[in-house]
């Protein structure tokens, strides 16, 4: 069971090893990295290439750990009680299974994606320690312990909005997706746009890396922006020479809006600096 990337996803060697270690030792794998470097995509691709079912749990600021386990829908039960429904007598009818429960119950080992865990409340990761460690939890309403049939492959992504607690980190393996180098970028673009003209590919990546180098940018464009941009270049029939002769100083690349999403960054690219003296 080796994950070596898929036709549409280039996994670097270090990422492959991290995934392999996490799968073999049955530990959650925490993935961090710049936005747009394919953190979430990784779980999808692992599931696809290993032929596993993907269970995706997207975390929001209001998500609680309990929601991943189960929720007891007391309101429905109250309503049903007033309507004299037969369902009322069995509390099981009002237990809504969460993603974790779903993963624990799965027939075959699933891939469980806990996406953007840092969006949730600070205590959220701590509330999941026991569940991820022992792969079981206790359901009070049913007076039952729910344990995983097999340990799911757990992929957790974080954008670093909040720091994760040490106790949680200790239980995970960690991989930081570094921004790809020029070679890897070429491979990535090539799997998405096979048959792309080599000169265009090289010039586009060269220019893209040059844009990324600009120090003043607030949000540096990443892989996903590059892919969007190349799509536009192709749609607009941009010729490789147009990119080659371009001077970044005082001249914007075509479709620059796909690379830089805010005005200040576009200005910074155009005029070389967002310099605003703080004397004024």
């Amino acid at each position: 069971m080796k994950f070596t990337g898929t036709p549409s996803y280039i996994a670097t060697r270090d990422l492959q090893i991290a995934v392999e270690a996490a799968i073999t030792l049955e530990k959650p794998l925490l993935i961090k990295g710049e936005p747009g470097t394919g953190k979430t995509l990784l779980a999808y691709e692992i599931a696809r290439s290993l032929g596993k079912k993907l269970i995706s749990w997207n975390i929001k600021s209001t998500t609680s750990a309990q929601q991943g386990l189960y929720e007891y829908d007391a309101i429905s039960r109250l309503r049903d009680a007033q309507l004299n429904s037969d369902k009322v007598s069995n509390i099981r009818n009002y237990i809504r299974k969460g993603k974790l429960w779903e993963a624990f119950e799965a027939e075959a080992v699933p891939v469980l994606l806990i996406d953007e865990i840092d969006k949730a409340d600070l205590e959220f990761p701590n509330d999941l320690l026991q569940e991820l460690d022992r792969m079981e939890f206790y359901c009070y309403e049913l007076d039952e312990t729910i344990s995983a049939r097999q340990r799911p492959i757990v992929i957790i992504t974080s954008n670093n909005e909040k720091e994760l607690p040490d106790a949680f980190l200790r239980r995970c393996f960690f991989h930081y997706i570094r921004f790809p180098d020029a070679d890897t970028l070429q491979q990535i673009v090539a799997v998405h746009y096979p048959g792309l003209q080599q000169a265009l590919l090289q010039n586009a990546i060269h220019l893209f890396l040059e844009v990324r180098e600009k120090r003043q940018l607030k949000k540096r464009p990443s892989t996903s922006e590059l892919l969007d941009w190349i799509k536009l270049l192709l749609a607009g029939g941009t010729r490789p020479e147009e990119l080659e002769s371009l001077q970044l100083q005082g001249e914007l690349p075509p479709y620059a809006g796909a690379l830089l999403k805010n005005e200040q960054d576009l200005n910074a690219l155009l005029y070389g600096s967002t310099h605003r003296s703080y004397y004024s």
Binding site: R13, L122, L169, Y278, S280
Partner: protein
Amino acid sequence: MAAPTEVTTPEMFIGFILQLREAGLPVGTRELLYLQEALARGVVGTSTDDFYYLCRSLFVKQEQALDKFDRAFAAAFADLSTLPFDPLAEIPEDWLAKNKQLEGLPEEEQQPYLQELFRQLQERFQQLLKDQQERHEGGNKWIGTGGRSPFGAWGYNQQGYRLGQTESRHKRAVKVWDQREFADLDDSRQLDTRQFQLALRRLRLLSHSGAPEVFDVEETIRKTCQNAGVLREVYRPQRSNGLRLLLFLDVGGSMDEHVRLCEQLFSAARHEFQQLEHFYFHNCLYEKVWKDSRRRRSEYMSTESLFQRYRSDYRVIVVGDASMSPYELLYKGGSVEHLNEEPGALWLQRLRQHFPHTIWLNPVPQSEWSYTETIGQIKALFEEHMYPLSLKGLEQAVKALR
């Protein structure tokens, strides 16, 4: 792969673990056992790069520690032959192929093969580990053994090691971990804008407390239902960011070289806090501060009235290099710009008295603080609450402001 666990013993890596701990990575027994298990279960093959990647994913828990890890790894395995996998490279490839065939055999038949091989490996590894320690004690014995080309250093060719690896690996002149690709993620280094925002975002945590005063409809319904329909009210604390921040920024003179850094802090702070006020001063805080440097002569605010206007629950960050002549700090009339009636130190004391949550951020690298007298003096005035303007310093500052 059901290789026996004797392949790697924890002792083999204890030196490495200790080195990591010394570098400040919180690793321990748990990680050691993970590593052993991963090796025993064949997560990586015979490649040293793979071994490095494996260790990295097991021992590093956040990206700031990646660079520390790289350095510790380089130090621990300075002589690559001490890597557990280099000895493995001596095994002819066809044996490795055989190894795979062995999998089908009953365990008793595999054992003698494997045990003999791993006994030899272990012996060799222990020997190398010992040599390594001697090198540390005896000082640089191994470094400078003359003409160490990258490959010579790796010792592959000299000793006739044969590695089951691809061509490209041998073309590479530098070891992966020596490239230190993650150096800029190390939190003891200085910040860029993005990192500033991340760090300041931590100040937002401060505002999550408070008395429960907002009526929570959802929770009330839920609790009431659970309570069999008998009303039970629930209140929750306000979630807004109640933190108020005052920034005092030193401008001009010796601060010019730090302008960019201060600007970044300022814009990140403005982005993060709605209740933010900022004032400028020059070199040291005196009886006047101003909001606009060009009109500072005419439009200023007396520090006295500032104390009256801003309640003492404001958090205060002073940003400055604290580098001045001691006169400017300690004597009346010592300011370079005007005749001050009271010494700057007194104003700094008043500031701290009025705002109990006051800290100083210094853009001068901490290692250079001891060269400037006034840095030490102001640090003492601030009861040691002076922090370097780096990610780590800002983190500590945020903690102190809490």
